[in-house]
Structures are given as structure tokens and as C-alpha cells.
């Protein structure tokens, strides 16, 4: 801003970001690198636990064992299902919010976004109480005589999908909502004045413009589901292991840190790969729209 000697003003931005930079290198980069290295170590209970060295043993184990295949596949399917439901429910909800009067809109927004501020443990507990075998849904349905025996939701994929959709759908609504905010309100009126029906306006004018919001929302939901831990752990338990709970068990259950590290590294790589390629795809597809 003001005149300083040239060296000082060149150094200044680096000085300003130095505290954060130091912290990141010390407490973020180094731990990640340690985990990466750890994933090449071996674990042998008879020889005293973790043995340093370099071996691909953990990776070959994870990539060849059908037990792990099943877990990775389950995590993937779970993420797809949750994402699809979030898109199908969250997008229309965001659009409905968009069309509401501002008073109702802010009330509904509070109800939808408020849960984001509540710990995921608490929200999952709510579902555990609702869907447990003697949970409220089953008890009510049985008391009403609608079913004879409890519907199995706890420890099933269905229960897990329901709870994860609940946990993550606010991100979807938020993302589409942000896209809708950028929409010129006159565009819709213009479309209608040109003789398009409401449905056509929605499909041909609104949807293409909020597509970037839908896509980035899907990415958030997908990535967060793929690495979700608390909800699958509480509602899926040992019976429905996902990648995150498996890594947890390796670390804190069997104490096989190297194997847990390998699983973590694979999860991280998959995550980064999906995020960056998806972003590339969106950028390419919507390059013109963003210019």
C-alpha cells in the first residue's frame, strides 16, 4: 500500500502467511508423510509389532484380499446411493426454498441447515433411536398392528443410507441454493413470457444453470460419505464395515498400524483422484458458463 523498500514488500506476503505455513508443514505435511511411510512398514505380532522397512505387503494384502474388496465395494456403493438420494431430494428442496417467501424461506433454512451445527454423533443417535429393532418406528408400527415383526433397519444398508442422507443432504441443498442465488430472477419470467410452460422453464432454463451447484454438491456428498466414520460405525457396526471403520479397527483394535495406514493412504488417493478428476470434468463442461 504505502511505499516500502522493495525487499520488504516482496517478503511481506510470505511473512504474513508464515505462521500458517509453518503449522501446516509441521502438523499436516509431516504426519501425512509419516503415514505414507508407515504404510510400507510391516506388522508382526510375534516379532514385537511394527517393523520398519520397505514392503508392499500391506498394499498387496488390501488389493488382493476379497475381504477388503468387499469393504471398498460397499463403501463405493454406499457413496453412490447416498449421493443419488441427496441429488434427488436436495435439488427439488432447494428449488422449493428458492420460490418461498423470504420469511418461510429463512425458517425452513434454519430447519435444514441447523442440524449441520449439531455433532454427527448426536444426529446418528437420533436415527439409532428411531430405527433400532425396538426403536420408535418399529414399536409404533407394531403397536398399530401394521407389522408383525420388526423391520430390520439397524445394521442394514437401508438404515445407513437413510442416516447418511440425513447427515449430508444439507450440503446438497446449500450448494444448489448457492447456484440458484446466482440465477437472474428475470430469466425465468423471460422464459415464461416467451411461452414456455413452467416445466419447460424448469428443465430448459433453471436446471442447466444450477447444474454446477448440483455437481459440486454431489462431489461433497460423495467424498464425505466415502470417508464417513461415526455414522457407519454406530449404525453399521462390525457387520457393515466401510473403509473408515476398517482403518479404525486396524489401528485401535488389532493394532496393525501399517495395514491401517495402507488403507488410509488408499482412501486418500481415491478421494483426491475422484475430487480432481470430477473438478476437471466440471471445469471442462462448464468452462464457458464460468467465463
Amino acid at each position: 500500500m504505502s511505499q516500502q523498500s522493495d525487499t520488504l514488500s516482496t517478503a511481506r506476503p510470505y511473512l504474513l502467511s508464515a505462521p500458517a505455513l509453518l503449522l501446516y508443514v509441521g502438523v499436516f505435511m509431516i504426519p501425512l508423510i509419516m503415514t505414507f511411510m508407515l504404510s510400507f512398514y510391516t506388522f508382526d505380532i510375534t516379532r514385537g509389532g511394527i517393523l520398519s522397512g520397505f514392503s508392499l505387503e500391506n498394499y498387496t494384502e488390501v488389493l488382493s484380499d476379497s475381504y477388503f474388496h468387499k469393504i471398498f465395494l460397499r463403501t463405493f456403493v454406499l457413496s453412490i446411493l447416498v449421493t443419488v438420494f441427496c441429488v434427488l431430494l436436495g435439488t427439488p428442496e432447494a428449488y422449493i426454498l428458492h420460490n418461498m417467501s423470504s420469511r418461510w424461506k429463512s425458517i425452513c433454512m434454519l430447519a435444514i441447515l441447523g442440524p449441520l451445527l449439531v455433532s454427527v454423533v448426536v444426529r446418528t443417535l437420533g436415527w439409532a433411536i428411531l430405527i433400532g429393532s425396538d426403536g420408535l418406528i418399529n414399536n409404533t408400527l407394531m403397536a398399530l398392528g401394521l407389522i408383525d415383526e420388526p423391520i430390520k433397519l439397524m445394521f442394514t444398508m437401508t438404515g445407513l443410507v437413510i442416516a447418511l442422507v440425513h447427515v449430508l443432504i444439507p450440503f446438497m441443498v446449500l450448494s444448489v441454493w448457492a447456484a440458484l442465488q446466482k440465477l437472474d430472477p428475470m430469466v425465468e419470467s423471460a422464459g415464461q413470457s416467451l411461452g414456455a410452460s413452467s416445466f419447460t422453464v424448469l428443465r430448459k432454463i433453471v436446471l442447466p444453470q444450477i447444474m454446477p451447484g448440483v455437481l459440486s454438491g454431489s462431489l461433497i456428498v460423495f467424498a464425505l460419505t466415502a470417508s464417513a466414520f461415526a455414522t457407519p460405525s454406530i449404525l453399521g457396526g462390525r457387520r457393515l464395515k466401510v473403509v473408515a471403520t476398517t482403518a479404525y479397527d486396524e489401528y485401535l483394535g488389532t493394532l496393525n498400524w501399517p495395514l491401517g495406514a495402507a488403507i488410509a493412504v488408499l482412501l486418500l488417493l481415491a478421494n483426491i483422484l475422484i475430487i480432481t478428476s470430477y473438478n476437471k470434468f466440471i471445469e471442462r463442461k462448464y468452462a464457458q458458463a464460468f467465463k
Partner: protein, 265 residues
């Protein structure tokens, strides 16, 4: 503005029910007088709320989480402000790369951070220390703090600062009297979001929390995996009440959507 059809309003009602059902159920169950999970059919009882106070386990964890949130949000914001100033005000080599680096914890699943921090803290002998917890939480919340602070600095009209300088204010006075007061709302918003994110975090904390330094969500998680009883429901209900108050305040001052847009990746 177009009107919603009746069908849309029904959808909206169902959607809101879905969003609120689990929270409402917790709040109802918390008032039961029975010793197991059930609706308070025979009157509201505060029995299980009183039980929380008799449980030092949870009380200690609650205080620890409060302090942790306080410390990590404060540290995160105070390093996010200078970093944001650098990004908003200077063009420098590596600017984009450093910025991406600062946001990159968002791309790393918390479980991965958890295992990494566990090895790291064990290695340097900080496992089980409060400071260890604080630093790991700072990493997790930095991206959120940075985004909100940065957007408030970028949105700032820089000419107000030039005006102050031309009126005779030194760099430091300009920062203290003009820049800081103008970005305070964004900084405060970043602090609150950071605090809440830290306070709620469970996945990473499960790894780095030791028996003596356990955060509230971790303790609750551990409790739930063993048993689901009215005690945990009343505790959760209390958290929901507190959150509601915070949320109403936040919404009043900022608009919830504006703060939380920063929460997405």
C-alpha cells in the same frame, strides 16, 4: 418469484420432518422417567438431565471440548487473518499454490488425518496432551476460518484504508483502526464456525483423544457404541438446545446460509 405448487409444499413438509425427526425424537426421549429408551408417555421427567451432572465423565469432556474449541478457533483465526491479508493484498510467486495448500485439509478424509496425527503425536511424545489436540484441530478448522476471513477481506473497499493513510495514519494504525474493525464481522463468523467445527469433530479426535483428554463427541461416541440409554439422549438434547440458541444468534447476525456456504468443499 414463482409460487410453489401444493405438491411442492407437501414435499417440503416431508423434507423438514425428515430433517428434524431424529433431533425431535432425542429431545422427547430425553424427558423419559424410565430407565430405558422410551417416549415420555407418563409425564416429562428431568431425571436424566440431573443424571448428566452426576457424571463427571461427560462434564469433564464437555469442558475439554469447550476449551479445545476456544483455543483452536482462536489460533486458527489469528493465523488466518495475516494469511488472508497476504492473499487478498499481494500478488506473489506461489500464491495460488500456498492457498491450495491451506485449503487442502478439506480434501483429506478425517479418518486419514486421525491416523496420521496419532502416529505423529505418539512419535513426538505429545499424545494425550491438550496442546497436541489443539494443533490437530487447528489444521482441521483452518480452511473454514481462512475462507470466511478471506472473503471478508476481499470484499473490503481498499480505498478506505488509502483514505486513512492519506489522513496521516501509519500502517499499523490503519490496520487497527480501519482494516480490523471492518473485517471483524467476517473474522467473528470464521471464529464461530471454527469453534463449532472443532466442538463437533469426532472422526479425527477418536484417534488423538487419550483417556485423560477425551472430547465430548468422542466420549459420546464411545458410550453409544456400548449402550444407548436415556442418559446419552438427555446429553444430546442439551447439546441440541445449546446449538439452537447459538444458531438463532448466528442467523440473526449473519444469515446461516452465508456462514455455512463456507462449510462445503
Amino acid at each position: 418469484m414463482r409460487k410453489n405448487t401444493p405438491l411442492a409444499l407437501v414435499f417440503n413438509a416431508l423434507f423438514l420432518t425428515f430433517m428434524l425427526a431424529p433431533l425431535v425424537v432425542i429431545c422427547l426421549v430425553a424427558f423419559t422417567s424410565k430407565g430405558y429408551i422410551s417416549l415420555p408417555t407418563d409425564g416429562f421427567s428431568l431425571r436424566w438431565f440431573r443424571a448428566i451432572l452426576d457424571n463427571p465423565h461427560f462434564i469433564d469432556a464437555f469442558y475439554l471440548s469447550l476449551m479445545l474449541g476456544f483455543a483452536s478457533a482462536t489460533i486458527a483465526v489469528s493465523i488466518a487473518v495475516p494469511a488472508s491479508l497476504a492473499f487478498a493484498r499481494y500478488k506473489f510467486t506461489g500464491r495460488a499454490a500456498i492457498m491450495a495448500f491451506f485449503l487442502s485439509p478439506l480434501m483429506v478424509p478425517h479418518i486419514v488425518l486421525g491416523v496420521s496425527f496419532l502416529s505423529f503425536l505418539t512419535k513426538i511424545g505429545w499424545y494425550g496432551s491438550f496442546m497436541g489436540l489443539v494443533f490437530t484441530h487447528v489444521i482441521i478448522i483452518m480452511p473454514y476460518a481462512l475462507r470466511l476471513v478471506l472473503s471478508s477481506i476481499t470484499g473490503l473497499d481498499q480505498s478506505a484504508e488509502s483514505a486513512a493513510a492519506s489522513l496521516g495514519a501509519s500502517n499499523w494504525v490503519v490496520f487497527r483502526r480501519v482494516t480490523l474493525p471492518m473485517i471483524i464481522p467476517g473474522v467473528a463468523g470464521g471464529w464461530v464456525l471454527s469453534f463449532i467445527t472443532s466442538f463437533d469433530e469426532v472422526t479425527m479426535s477418536v484417534f488423538v483423544a487419550s483417556p485423560s483428554t477425551t472430547t465430548l463427541p468422542v466420549r459420546m461416541y464411545e458410550h453409544i457404541t456400548e449402550t444407548i440409554d436415556p442418559l446419552i439422549a438427555s446429553l444430546s438434547a442439551s447439546l441440541i438446545f445449546i446449538t439452537m440458541i447459538v444458531m438463532l444468534i448466528l442467523d440473526r447476525f449473519y444469515g446461516l446460509d452465508k456462514i455455512l456456504v463456507g462449510k462445503g468443499k
